[in-house]
């Protein structure tokens, strides 16, 4: 087998480095956070979010039409944050694309200089803003990871056709430790690692005991020898956010003790309690063996990310030059 050629050095965007890869390799506690692309072409808010995260995260996820609601393409949003000197993790899901489009997008986003991808199945169209749309699901997330690692490592498409230049990408996948069958979740993670996932970001974690068990099991299966695990967390800002997390995001389970923390809390104090709770969890996760970092999902509240990390005692990233 010939060694895979790398992405052409003359990619469209300025090189943004490999901060996430380096952080994960060095063993330092990695931090990623989520940014939601705008519904439209106005990049002002996205760039503001990127500036807020810049000093605090290794890389930021740009979501791909989350909840099946149309937003700016994740590759375009990724390009926008690269222009702000923030390393992107471009999300790519299977709901909207068949295997031809998925492979084409993997090549495309690597060619413009995006270093990381997060590959997922995607929320079903039924609850999005175009419920009448045809959903695709030609591949599933595990297979997409398998395809991406094959494109990169063998320089071949799924058809077997040779690529001229293969996408040099750090490949990520997701897992939800809180969704049934609980017992299968670590096995599913191991399966994604077998398919080529190099890092895993989880869905929101609220039940740390269940999560510890999940990490242990993933370790026993050998998955964490070949893959880094970032625990998904997010601050709860308001009663509405608590309600949304509890009932409107598929697969998210807000544990009873977390709900209890907000019992009787006045609306104006909600954010403060939410920040503290999230910071406590970040601090606690640093001490769980097998956890390489955190992934913060602060939907439309990027300002909270520096605050949470500071309260949790996670050092700011080094500013690049």
């Amino acid at each position: 087998m010939t060694t895979a050629p790398t992405t052409s050095p003359d990619s469209l965007l300025p090189p943004v480095g490999n901060r996430l890869r380096d952080s994960l390799a060095s063993g330092r506690f990695a931090v990623t956070a989520e940014l939601t692309p705008p519904r439209g072409t106005d990049l002002t808010r996205l760039k503001k979010g990127a500036a807020l995260l810049h000093d605090y995260v290794d890389a930021a996820n740009l979501t791909d039409n989350p909840s099946a609601v149309v937003r700016l393409a994740s590759w375009a949003a990724s390009a926008a944050v690269i222009a702000e000197d923030l390393e992107p993790i471009c999300q790519l899901q299977c709901r909207d694309r068949n295997r031809i489009a998925l492979q084409s997008d993997l090549l495309g986003l690597a060619s413009i200089g995006i270093p990381n991808v997060l590959l997922l199945t995607g929320d079903h169209t039924r609850f999005g803003d175009h419920p009448e749309a045809k959903d695709v699901f030609d591949l599933d997330s595990t297979t997409l990871v398998w395809v991406a690692s094959t494109l990169r490592d063998t320089g071949e498409l799924m058809s077997g056709a040779k690529l001229q230049g293969s996408p040099r990408l750090l490949i990520g996948a997701v897992e939800n430790p809180s969704a049934p069958p609980l017992e299968f979740r670590a096995q599913r993670l191991a399966k994604k690692v077998a398919a080529g996932a190099e890092f895993i970001q989880t869905q929101y974690i609220f039940d740390l005991d269940n999560f510890r068990h999940f990490v242990e099991r993933a370790g026993e299966l050998g998955a964490l020898d070949h893959c880094k695990l970032l625990a998904g967390l997010g601050p709860i800002r308001s009663p509405r956010a608590l309600e949304r997390l509890s009932h409107s995001i598929p697969g998210v389970v807000v544990s009873d003790d977390v709900a209890a923390r907000f019992k009787g809390v006045k609306d104006e104090d909600f954010a403060e309690v939410g920040l503290n709770l999230c910071a406590e969890m970040v601090a606690e996760l640093q001490n769980i063996p097998g956890v390489s970092g955190v992934h913060l999902m602060a939907f439309a509240w990027e300002e909270s990310v520096p605050e949470i990390l500071t309260r949790a005692g996670v050092a700011a990233r080094q500013r690049r030059n």
Binding site: A179, A190, K191
Partner: protein
Amino acid sequence: MASSGQPEAERRVRQGAVPTVPGASARFCYGLHRIVEKGRTWALVARTLEAHPKAYQTFTALEKKTKVAAFGCRMCGQCALPMTGYACPMTCPKQLRNGPCGGVGADGGCEVYPEMRCVWVQGYERAKETGHSADFSLLQRPIDHRRFGESSWVNYWSGRDDYLAAAVLPGGDRPSPRLPASPPAA
């Protein structure tokens, strides 16, 4: 709902993929599999059927009737049932072949149809009860959409669906997800 009978099952098939409760117990299915396990005799049956289009059609219609009633089968022609606890992944609204998505409700409900149990949760339970949960670690290749409507039994007996799954461990050598290039059966 369990053995919902033909009309109900057929209605669902028309509607699109909806998680279906298998109408046959896992133990029975694994037992039956031992009888129809591929080998020389069944390969001969497959060849004979393929040589006689009328017989193939009748056989396929029979397969469809049985499997639609029992599993909500969608006739993908590349049956994964023996590896999924005999709960059909093609009845998952996302047609996932490698396990449940992350949207399963805390009660085991489907993300898309919360009032129905996730077909993968059902399959995992069925496989576990009968000692087959290791099957869920196999990497399943994507399906060949040209094979819809074919008899998956014939495809299985003839070895045409040998590509379906691969056993790979974390850090292990990965085969390609590539499918065989062979054209669909006549």
